[in-house]
């Protein structure tokens, strides 16, 4: 099976879907002639031409709205944000027009659109450019939120997102574009709402998605090697819908749960998972759920400060040990 980078997997997904369906097009800043700010759309302009790979001006509200309008008449736009931090300039389009036109029209118009781009703290970009938008968008009925952690998942989930009839927020991460992994040559898609066990274990369930899934896997390896602790890492892959059934099944097996996210703890995804676990499998928990998240502060620029704020391998490993009452 070919081993490719995550950015190539995304590129393949978009190219295959554009070849399959003439209503699919890509619009965003620097996606065409510049070949993508992060090279995700590399070569696509040459392949599909300027009507299908469209350079937009720095005008997020304008081109996000353009996508939604085109979707109202059955086109399937992929709108790339250079980062989801900039999607906040278009927040009204994202949380009002995209998810609510179907509803307010009594179901007369569907909005089959994908908004994709990077989310997360990145490399020392300071507070305004470092948004982790998982929780912001997962909060909104009418949106679907997808966040892959491997090249395989990235391709399969993006193809599903493009074919989906609802607005999909597809979250990528700058640090992960170069991650390599096996991606089959034959056609496949991955359904929304189906978690994937990235590492099987028996001692503690760690729920982590996107970039933090890698952090969690590294922490699991560390604990295995240093203490023989056998951690299960579960990647929900989509946050709305959220595969609580799989999370509950894992927790029933291990008795413990730690969630790991780069977003803020207050009203975050981890809070939601913890709530649902206490509601649905309280008696299976041998300790309270631990929520590992960014510290509740604006993202600082300075590297040591940033590394302190964002959950790293050591912090995750420590929190797992505390959660399972490990006396080492």
């Amino acid at each position: 099976m070919p081993v490719i980078q995550l950015r190539e997997a995304l590129n393949q997904a978009m190219c295959e879907e554009m070849q399959r369906d003439p209503d699919v097009f890509l619009i965003g800043e620097e996606v065409a002639e510049y070949d993508g700010a992060y090279k995700v759309s590399q070569g696509m302009l040459a392949k599909f031409g300027p009507m299908r790979v469209v350079d937009a001006p720095i005008s997020e509200c304008g081109f996000a709205g353009l996508g939604i309008g085109a979707a109202m008449v059955g086109m399937r736009p992929i709108v790339e944000f250079m980062t989801f931090s900039f999607s906040l300039v278009a927040f009204d389009q994202m949380v009002n027009n995209a998810p609510k036109v179907r509803h307010m029209s009594g179901g007369q118009f569907k909005i089959p659109i994908v908004f994709r781009g990077i989310s997360g703290p990145g490399q020392q970009l300071a507070a305004t450019h470092s948004w982790t938008v998982d929780a912001l968008y997962t909060h909104v009925p009418g949106l679907k939120v997808v966040i892959p952690s491997t090249p395989y998942d990235a391709k399969g989930l993006l193809k599903t997102a493009i074919r989906d009839d609802d607005p999909v927020i597809f979250l990528e991460n700058e640090a992960m574009y170069g991650v390599r992994g096996e991606v089959p040559e034959e056609e496949y898609t991955i359904p929304f709402g189906k978690a994937d066990i990235k590492r099987e274990g028996t001692d503690c369930t760690v729920v982590a998605w996107g970039h933090t899934c890698q952090t969690a896997l590294a922490a699991a390896e560390k604990l295995q090697q240093e203490h023989g602790i056998n951690v299960e890492v579960l990647d929900p892959r989509t946050l709305r819908p959220l595969d609580m059934d799989s999370i509950i099944a894992s927790v029933r097996k291990t008795g413990y749960c730690v969630t790991v996210e780069e977003g803020y703890p207050t009203c975050g995804i981890g809070s939601e998972i913890a709530y649902q676990l206490q509601e649905k499998c309280f008696d299976d928990l041998d300790n309270s759920v631990t929520r590992v998240a960014a510290l509740d502060v604006p993202m600082p620029y300075s590297k040591p400060l940033l590394n302190h704020v964002v959950p790293g391998v050591d912090r995750v490993a420590e929190e797992i040990k505390k959660t399972i009452y490990f006396q080492g």
Binding site: S59, C61, G65, G69, N97, M104, S105, G107, K110, G142
Partner: protein
């Protein structure tokens, strides 16, 4: 050519606007067409007066923005576009919906929050939609629908279709960022869109003089984005028809967008809850002297096709239709409580439904 519009002179300053206006002046609708417009305007006005009553009777909730006084804008402009063209507007949408041919019963039902409403009772006054009429709403966040119009125009250009987009908004929308982003994109991509500002002088209760650094709105619109435009008397149904038809032909030929600055006036408040302390009765009366229904009435009287008897007959017929639609909607059932879970996703899911 995707980008820019080389060779196209801005029309406020250039020759093309003359061509547009000259073409418009040559358009002569039949008296039968004008009789139809007259009836439509009477219908919109009576629909709105009934809505005002129903609001006072608390049959209508939320915000309700009436179109009384502005009827000629929707009727004249919508008469000039085809059923296959795309139409999108803001929250003062009753007049556009009726002029686009939507039945009154689902509109009243929507206002009353009934299951039979055009949006199944989920949208209300500000969110009338009808996919079958290419009527794309009904949007309540000021100027947020203008980027959607650009998307509709993009789809038309992308698919090489013979359509135009007609996008209405108020003068208040012109101070929003989304308006300027949308116009820049439409000008850049040369999309077939008629941007039509219904300038009624007020953004809610704030006069344009207190809201816009430059009050000659056309200086803040088309020219800035390479989109030519023209001002139109919005109290004159015939002028609206002529200019919109001419503009639509311009767009259909692949010339890009057009901006129509339409001067109009609303007789009622911004919404039903507006005490109107920002203007005088005299000001309202002054505009009512140029009432759009009265003006078309005069044209038709002069043409010998309308007299007192016919006017009465039109009013009686319309009144009956309005009352019937209102009563039917009033008697209709509300949606089922379980309907809150529908029209959200293509494949419904919700962790909290159970």
């Amino acid at each position: 050519m995707l980008y820019g519009c080389p060779g196209l002179k801005p029309l406020y300053m250039g020759e093309n606007v003359k061509t547009l206006v000259e073409a418009a002046q040559k358009i002569e609708p039949s008296t039968a067409q004008m009789m139809d417009w007259y009836r439509q305007m009477v219908l919109i006005r009576q629909f709105e007066l009934r809505s005002a009553q129903s609001y006072q009777q608390q049959k209508i909730g939320g915000f309700c923005h009436l179109y009384v006084g502005q009827e000629a804008v929707a009727v004249g402009s919508l008469a000039a576009v085809r059923p296959s063209d795309y139409v999108i507007t803001a929250y003062r949408d009753h007049g556009h919906a009726i002029a686009r041919g939507m039945d009154m019963h689902p509109l009243f039902a929507e206002l009353y929050g009934k299951k039979t409403g055009c949006s199944h009772g989920k949208g209300g006054s500000m969110h009338f939609f009808d996919a079958s009429k290419n009527f794309f709403g009904g949007h309540a966040i000021v100027a947020a629908h203008i980027p959607l119009a650009v998307g509709l125009g993009w789809a038309v250009k992308y698919r090489k279709e013979d359509r135009v987009v007609l996008c209405y908004f108020g003068d208040g929308a012109m101070n929003q960022g989304s308006f300027h982003e949308a116009l820049n994109l439409a000008g850049l991509f040369k999309l077939p869109i008629i941007f039509l500002v219904e300038d009624n002088g007020y953004g809610m209760g704030t006069h344009v003089h207190r809201a816009s650094a430059v009050t000659d709105l056309k200086l803040r619109t088309g020219d800035a984005y390479g989109i030519p435009g023209k001002d139109v008397d919005g109290m004159d149904c015939l002028a609206m028809y002529r200019m919109t038809l001419s503009a639509a032909e311009y767009c259909r030929k692949g010339n890009g967008s057009i901006f129509l600055q339409v001067k109009t006036y609303r007789y009622r408040g911004h919404s039903m809850s507006d005490p109107q302390k920002y203007r005088t009765r005299e000001e309202v009366a002054q505009f009512q002297e140029h009432d759009p229904i009265g003006r078309l009435e005069k044209v038709l009287r002069d043409a010998g096709v309308l007299d007192d008897q016919k006017i009465q007959a039109v009013n009686d017929e319309v009144h009956k239709l309005v009352e019937e639609a209102h009563l039917r909607a009033d008697a209709d059932p509300y949606p089922e409580l379980d309907d809150v879970w529908t029209d959200i996703y293509s494949n419904p899911f919700d962790p909290y439904k159970l």
